[in-house]
């Protein structure tokens, strides 16, 4: 690997800054300050990222829908300065905090209160193991991937708590949907990542990101998404990640047109904002994992672009993923709950299992060179494409655009 630009000042700047601050404290406290700083950094960076994701979502959705989006909020005392409405999230935050917190009289007070707390806490845990840059990884865990998924499981539990604790029929239906959705999509989500673990032979996010380094001819990155199994895995991951984070077209628990706001029906003010925050934290964390596992993590796409610090690459890819999710949300319809679970069990899971075999094939044939390499590509592609077509045809059997007759 080239060592030319990787150790630039910018690359190490966050670490140097952290060490500079830590150096001001007595040695006995340094470990604590070190960790606290890491936590603060994550909270600040991703708190702001969340804030600007909300405004980006509103503005991008607006543009997709041929609207302008929020562009009014500026700064207090500077009336003429509009700032393209970029201060909107802060206005929203103030609004959310100052709104009345309504708890239904018959609600389960404990669960109703606990749900937003739990969901935010757990949705933040996932950030601990994501390698944001070459040297920026909050906690280096050997079983990081496993940790990530374990941390994410509690969020749907919190949705259940919110839904059941609200004592609202819509909320209850949403809670049931959330449970069904979790059980269905946890599996394809994990199965989509397993091939990467199989090929790289590690569960550590740092090593997985490192394993995708290097370029062919300096321009073609060795990211997993550029292999047949990696591409298939990435697609499955995308679908499952959408479902895990309750995003359209899988936003069934809070299906606005059916269940009003689902589990959020009885929440108001800051608690509602917490749920909202957790949804975006979860989405961001899952996108971060997808980037780490499939999109080369913090690696630059071309060798000559390495002078840009790795953490900037990571954040750039993250922003790209978020934009893609917003685009999806602006286009697609919602699935029905039975179709949702069918899609998971009868399409994604078999495909993911086949893809696992595909990755095993890829790992076993790593020695094939020359024309054999082409054959390796062809076979690997066939292993995912053929089942995709067959399963896809089964999935959409009986559904087709129709032609219509006209009265004579």
């Amino acid at each position: 690997m080239s060592v030319v630009a990787t150790d630039s000042f910018l690359e190490r700047a966050p670490l140097l800054f952290r060490d500079w601050i830590v150096g001001h404290f007595p040695v006995a406290l340094q470990w604590l300050v070190h960790h606290l700083l890491t936590i603060t950094a994550i909270l600040t960076v991703f708190g702001l990222f969340f804030a600007f994701t909300t405004i980006a979502e509103r503005k991008l959705l607006a543009r997709l829908q041929n609207r302008l989006g929020p562009n009014r909020s500026g700064l207090p005392w500077f009336r003429t300065l509009k700032l393209w409405g970029l201060t909107q999230p802060f206005a929203d935050a103030i609004k959310a905090i100052t709104k009345e917190d309504i708890v239904p009289a018959v609600a389960d007070q404990v669960l109703h209160f606990l749900a937003p707390v739990v969901i935010v806490a757990f949705s933040l845990l996932g950030f601990a193991v994501l390698p944001f840059g070459r040297y920026l990884i909050p906690v280096e865990l050997d079983a990081a991937i496993l940790y990530f998924f374990a941390a994410g499981t509690a969020t749907e539990l919190a949705i259940f708590m919110a839904g059941w604790g609200s004592r609202n029929k819509y909320s209850l239906l949403a809670a049931m949907r959330a449970l069904a959705q979790l059980i269905s999509y946890e599996l394809p989500l994990i199965l989509s990542v397993v091939p990467v673990v199989l090929v790289t032979g590690t569960l550590s996010t740092r090593d997985i990101a490192l394993a995708q380094g290097g370029w062919t001819w300096g321009v073609l990155p060795h990211w997993h998404v550029f292999t047949p199994w990696g591409f298939a895995g990435f697609l499955i991951f995308l679908v499952a990640a959408l479902a895990e984070s309750n995003r359209s077209p899988f936003d069934l628990p809070e299906a606005e047109s059916e269940l009003i706001a689902g589990h959020l029906t009885e929440y108001s003010g800051f608690k509602y904002a917490l749920f909202f925050m957790a949804e975006y934290f979860g989405l961001t964390a899952l996108s971060g994992l997808g980037i780490t596992v499939f999109l080369g993590g913090w690696q630059a796409p071309c060798a000559f672009l390495e002078f840009i610090p790795s953490w900037l690459w990571f954040m750039g890819k993250l922003a790209g993923m978020i934009v893609f999710f917003i685009w999806i949300r602006g286009t697609l319809l919602r699935l029905r709950i039975d179709q949702l679970t069918r899609l998971a069990w009868q399409f994604l899971v078999p495909l993911a299992l086949l893809n696992l075999g595909n990755a095993a094939f890829w790992a076993l044939t790593s020695g094939w060179t020359g024309p054999l390499a082409l054959a390796r590509w062809a076979i690997s592609a066939a292993i995912v494409i053929v089942p995709f077509f067959l399963l896809g045809r089964r999935l959409t059997a009986g559904y087709a655009p129709r032609t219509y007759r006209y009265a004579a």
Partner: protein, 222 residues
Amino acid sequence: MLGSGILKGLGVTAKNFVGSYHDPARMVTQEYPDTPAKLPEAYRNFPFLVTENATDPMGTLRCVACQICEKECPPQCIYIEKSKDKKPDATGKPQLYPAVFAIDTAVCMSCQLCVEVCPFDAIKMDHVFEVAATNRFEGLLLNREQLAKPNEYFHQIRPTEAAEVDGRLTAERQAAAEKAKAAAAAKAAAPKPTTPVAGVADPGPASPRPATPKPAEGGTAP
């Protein structure tokens, strides 16, 4: 193939996303308070009373308190009280005038029927749509002082219709003047001391008939 329909949809939304930056046919948003709303001439919202002279609005109302609009108003939001005395109207005839003319804009549905049935072109539809009041009863109950707006304003908001109305009124005035002249001449020829000038309307309170026939179609009928 599974997914092709979804990809097509994504393509369309992407096209709209790009189009919203350069294609005015896609980005149709007007930033309303910054760029004032452009109202078509025919736009109607809440009636107003036309006065001939801005300096003396109450003295020159075209309305003669005939109460046709009050009767025809579907939600019954117009209230008129006739005056005891008479004043000369647009054509110079002495007419009653509304001592009280009130419209409850909280009830009015801007249907324009009052305008269509008015034989004197006295009530017209306004272009004002930013109506807000601090009190929903008195604040939205407009009296004749608030309702009266000069003819110049009418010209400003509805140039075509106002020009057409003015033309017709001028013609009526000329006709009335000629008639008065002829009557004066006739009077000079054969003096009859008891005849009042220029056919005053029937003093009875009911059935005020329009002095001049007017097409049933508002301003724009052929």
